[in-house]
Amino acid sequence: MSEINQAAQSDVESQTDEPKRIPQPDKITNKDLMKSWFGWWWANEVNHTFDRMLAPAFCFGLIPALKKLYKDHDELAKAFQRHLLFFNTQATWGGGTLTGVTISLEEARAKAMANGEQPISEDMINNTKVGLMGPLAGIGDSIDSGTVQYIFIAIFLPFAQKGNFLGALLPFLCFAIATFTYGYYFTKLGYSLGRAAAKEIMTGGRMAGIIDGLGVLGLYMMGILAGQYINIKSYFKFTINDKTFDIQQILNTILPGILPLTAVLLLYLYFQKQGLKITRGLLYLTGALILLSIFYII
């Protein structure tokens, strides 16, 4: 089975000191940023799944940019792969900004590889995404979905109440135009912030420290997400002569949160031993969840 366990290998490669030489990348223009922003905007929640969340859309958006940056086929494939991993954020504040930031970091990486310099590592790109996606999602959901959307709806609601179709069309159009516009602005902003950061990183000679720091942040955020997104609890209760035994309650006195953690750690160890065989992991996990839940064990 053709699994993407090269990701794990490429990771190792990126830490050795002999970076691969690749052809010079093309320059990233505003048009490219617009293409990427539009790609993300369009694909946004189309391929939403529980285990990758919005990563496919993120990768979809980056395709044109990555093709300009990585003329080397292998590197292009690896870039595709690394942007297909678990990713979730809000569309404009999160996705716009991170599209820009990611393109700038990929550009710096591609350039360094072309020049035979020590490139920004995949880790750094991943951890930056992972560290920022959560808080930006919170901000974006609150503002876009929670406020901007309902402001427009509230303004035009009286039209609808009177039976006028503008009460439906205008909120939609206003929301679509407003968010598309500032989302693109965030993309450009992210790109220029990312460029500045990339330059700072590559000249500052503090790369190792920054990678570690981003690793801390990334793993920390994964811990928080695991605590908040994964929802596995035991529904298993049994009653013997009127005395009820509630497994989840017993688990709570032992270690609250033990089931979600176990799931993550089992998968982590599986990948650790077998390489990053995501599809298999998905099959096993789904199978286990279905089996356990059919019998109401979870």
């Binding site: 990701a7 990771d11 694909a43 939403h48 799944t49 529980f50 285990d51 969340m53 859309a57 990768c59 979809f60 395709i63 595709f80 297909l84 979730n88 569309a91 880790d123 991943n126 560290g131 959560g134 959901d141 609150s142 979905s145 929670g146 609601l157 039209f159 609808a160 109440q161 009177k162 006028n164 179709f165 009460g167 439906a168 069309l169 909120p171 939609f172 929301f175 968010t179 598309f180 570690d212 690793g215 801390v216 920390y220 955020m221 811990g223 928080i224 695991a226 605590g227 997104y229 929802n231 596995i232 993550v264 750690l265 982590y268 990948f271 995501i278 992991g281 996990l285 969840l289 279905i290």
Partner: protein
């Protein structure tokens, strides 16, 4: 409620719902999904009574005012609710209140359908990963956009069509049957557990085993402080502070100037 929709009307409405729920119209479909308004308008056009449809829809809108879906879960699917409730209301000459009574349980069921879509989408991941590994941009694009869209269409069009064509009574029966059954339980459990995969993958990709204590620190902070409902941004700030301190404490440049 003895008058029904024509086949074409039912089909058109079903297609509209599939367009919205597949999200194929881009990010802005979000507001079509969260709000009943656009769906109400389309139903009105299709049924040839835009004015009444808008009035009923405005009443439904009030019920769903302020819904947000952080992390994917919307407590109800207003567009689906509307697609079913407005025709029923128009045909049966019901009051907006009557329409709401139909909309609420349908919206709830719709929410399960939408989450079922997340689950079905996982079938698109395998070809996607393959194309990515091959560096095949065309295939990649297709698998990201094409397959899930087809899935959504196959899921929503028949269901909505049947529901509309055979009427509301059928629906409410189905609703109550399904929501209490094992199917929903399994769906919920799988949905609740699948995020573990994505997280494990990222952990693997970050790949620094020595930093795993920070994962555990975060996990158990979020468990121990669950009652305090601490905001995600605050956790991100804590994470950043720990990252900075980690770098400070493991580098030897600590005594530099401020």
């Amino acid at each position: 409620m003895h008058v029904t929709l024509s086949v074409w009307q039912a089909l058109l409405i079903a297609i509209w719902v599939a367009l919205v729920e597949s999200r194929i119209l881009g990010f802005a479909t979000l507001t079509m999904r969260f709000s009943p308004l656009m769906t109400g308008m389309m139903v009105g056009i299709i049924m040839g009574d835009l004015k009444s449809a808008m009035i009923v829809t405005a009443a439904i809108q009030l019920v769903y005012m302020g819904f947000v879906a952080p992390g994917g879960a919307l407590p109800a699917e207003p567009a689906i609710a509307t697609a079913i409730a407005v025709p029923v209301a128009l045909l049966g000459h019901m009051s907006p209140q009557g329409a709401i009574a139909i909309a609420v349980p349908v919206g709830l069921l719709g929410s399960y359908l939408y989450q079922f879509r997340f689950f079905l989408n996982t079938f698109a991941l395998k070809p996607m990963d393959k194309f990515a590994a091959e560096g095949n941009a065309r295939g990649l694009r297709l698998s990201i956009m094409g397959i899930p869209t087809i899935i959504s269409f196959l899921l929503f069009i028949p269901l909505i069509f049947i529901a509309l064509y055979f009427g509301a009574p059928v629906i409410s029966g189905v609703v109550s049957n399904i929501t209490h059954g094992t199917v929903i339980h399994v769906l919920n459990s799988v949905g609740g557990g699948l995020a573990a995969l994505g997280i494990a993958v990222i952990m693997q990709v970050i790949g620094k085993q020595k930093l795993l204590p920070f994962f555990f620190l975060a996990y158990f902070m979020s468990v121990a402080f669950a009652k305090l409902q601490i905001n995600m941004t605050i956790y991100a700030i804590f994470g950043t502070i720990f990252a900075i301190l980690y770098v400070m404490f493991t580098s030897n440049r600590a005594s530099d100037k401020a």
